[in-house]
Amino acid sequence: MRRFEYVFRGGAEPEEIRLEGKGDTWRLTRKGETQAVSVRRLCDGRLSLLFPDGRQVCGRVLAAESGEVVVVDSDGPRRVPLADPLSDRLSHSHAAGSDSAEEEIRALIPGRVLEVRVAEGDQVRAGEVLIVLEAMKMQNEIRAASGGTVARCAVSPGAAVEGRALLLVVRPSPTP
């Protein structure tokens, strides 16, 4: 008998999910209701879940950033805000205290800087285009993940950058 506990943050309130595994069957408890799920791992790594009422779902479970899991099934990839209580507390407290943490914006892959649309000190909105990078013959807009102030600008137009190279530093504005 194996026991596990997770916190799901997809709803209004954090929700606790409990699991008890035995052989190919897992007892899943949500909102006080428990059901026995038949589980098989396919040869390509996917899991097939069969619920007591007959519903079947088959998909792959991938790790994402802490506090999230990516499931890939017939609807495509989707992020599930789920974590064990410890990492949940960590990532959550982190999120809470991260108002002043600076956001480092880096190049995903090697390329050439085409445009730099902001300067140090500029106020930027979440989703605003900061830099246009050319890589794999494509122009890629690099956007701000959250609103804030450009604390540092590490590159200029025409510059060639390596993968993971630092491009900008944005200091998030305090969350209201």
């Binding site: 997770y6 779902v57 499931v71 495509g76 995903l108 890589a135 494509m138």
Partner: protein, 495 residues
């Protein structure tokens, strides 16, 4: 099998597509490769293969001397350029003929004539094919442009002569904006293309991109093989193509075909080619350009019209006449271009290794892929993995089939544009066929890719997936995981 050899001066799915046509024609296949492609499918499926050079295209797939040398070494008599790379290089076509090779494509003259915006417009006008009103040649002054705008009516579009792919264009609403816009466009043109030349075109509002497939043989017969709907574009890049277009009726098809054949005749076209038109909401259409090559989206025409364009293109190059008199369409086809780009990150390129590749099967599903499971999407070239093409009795059935096929499709290891297509098939405006060339960009801005709601099954899947790992001894499928089988297979393949 004849000893005639065909060399494909290309890589990826189009090289694979052409080699398949060669196999069916009984031609021997010769692949060329750069250092990043030695193990790529187009190489491992070929009868012969020759290294061109290092990964960068200009030192490999764009190197005319290296390609000619490869043909000489292998004794290939035909050379097929595919699309992209040297497909529309008159210089390459000429170099092939001078080396005594048969270039599988139109004449260098046809490529040249259609390669120049101004020259092709001139020829179309004298052939009686409507073009978008524009100042044929680069404007000397802003005044010239204002005058044009006043004659044809605003808004107008300023374009860099050397521009393309939507870069170096500027919309001008009113006369008093012309001067400033002219200056800005000139400076951009210089920056981007090192060429300040700028000209003006009348702006067609809410247009669709419709193109007509043409085939001409060396006997001088030129046929139009229906149109393709290519209005679904992201930043001027085609993403999804259809055949037929949901807005083209028989009468309009008739007129488009006539114009396309005239365009091809104007340059004595003897191969497969595509004539692109801008279709205005009022049903009027204007010649945009002619692509003197096999198009990425050629499969939708093949499925609906029952013709093997890649095969015909080779037969024509061998001097054979078209194998058919006329063709008739059946059903509806849709193609999705599967790019290694991450829709969740503004379509940033996502190079890497394709760790998982599960493709759908069943009726009306076709795969033109240039990669296998375990293969690498190199950073040096266009990030398209390949294409999914579906075919069914009508557009509604084709969309249902596409939706079904996408549900069976999985690519792991690199992010792809598959989620974009899954969002599209359930979009009411797409389903109605109500879109123009700007529609997709607009729709993406409006959150087409909004987060899909989580089902309780997904949460259970996530939780059990985590747990099943944590506790190591997780449930296994009947038999052991493929990884084990694979390695078993490898062990055996080595014992």
């Amino acid at each position: 099998m004849s000893s005639l050899k065909l060399l494909v001066a290309n890589r990826g799915e189009i090289a694979v597509r052409i080699f398949r046509a060669c196999r069916e024609l009984g031609l021997r296949t010769v692949a060329v490769f750069s250092d990043s492609d030695r193990s790529a499918p187009h190489v491992t499926m070929a009868d012969e293969a020759v290294r061109l050079g290092p990964a960068p295209a200009r030192e490999s797939y764009l190197s005319i001397p290296a390609l000619l040398e490869a043909a000489r070494r292998t004794g290939a008599r035909l050379v097929h350029p595919g699309y992209g790379f040297l497909a529309e290089s008159a210089e390459f076509a000429r170099a092939c003929s001078e080396a005594g090779l048969t270039f599988v494509g139109p004449s260098a003259q046809a490529i040249e004539a259609m390669g120049s915006k101004t020259e092709s417009r001139r020829r179309m006008q004298s052939a009686g094919v409507a073009v978008v009103p524009g100042t044929m040649r680069p404007a000397e002054s802003a005044a010239e442009l204002s005058e044009f705008g006043r004659r044809h009516g605003f808004p107008i579009l300023l374009k860099a002569s050397s521009g393309g792919g939507g870069k170096g264009m500027r919309r001008v609403e009113r006369d008093d904006e012309v001067a400033a816009a002219f200056e800005r466009t000139r400076s951009e043109a210089t920056a981007y293309f090192g060429d300040a030349a700028v000209y003006a075109e009348k702006l067609i509002e809410g247009p669709r991109h419709i193109e007509v497939q043409v085939i001409g043989d060396t006997q001088g017969r030129i046929l139009a093989v229906g149109e393709r709907e290519c209005s679904l574009q992201r930043r001027h890049q085609k993403v999804v193509e259809e055949c037929p277009s949901p807005v083209v009726d028989d009468d309009l098809r008739e007129r488009l075909s006539l114009a396309a054949v005239r365009a091809a005749e104007a340059v004595g076209y003897q191969s497969c080619g595509t004539v692109e038109f801008l279709l205005a909401p009022d049903g009027s259409f204007y010649f945009l350009e002619m692509n003197t090559r096999l198009q990425v989206e050629h499969p939708v025409t093949e499925e609906v019209w029952g013709v093997d364009l890649a095969r015909e293109m080779i037969r024509i190059a061998l001097g054979e006449p078209l194998a058919f008199r006329g063709l008739s369409p059946r059903g509806h086809a849709i193609e999705c271009r599967i790019y290694a780009e991450d829709p969740a990150r503004g379509f940033a390129p996502s190079p890497g290794t394709v760790k998982v590749l599960r493709v759908p099967g069943g009726p009306g599903v076709r795969h033109d892929l240039g990669i296998e499971e375990g293969g690498i999407v190199p950073i040096d070239y266009d990030p398209m993995l390949g294409k999914l093409i579906v075919h069914a009795s009508d557009r509604e059935a084709a969309i249902a089939r596409l939706s079904r096929a996408l549900a069976e499709y999985e690519v792991g290891g690199v992010a792809t544009t598959l989620p974009l297509f899954q969002a599209l098939v359930s979009d009411p405006e797409f389903r109605r066929g109500a879109f123009d060339v700007q529609w997709l960009d607009r729709r993406l801005g409006q959150g087409l890719l909004g987060p899909t709601p989580l089902r309780s099954e997904d949460v259970a899947l996530a939780a059990i997936g985590l747990a099943a790992h944590r506790n190591g001894a997780e449930p296994s499928a009947a038999g052991s995981p493929v990884s084990a089988w694979r390695s078993a297979a490898r062990r055996e393949s080595l014992r």
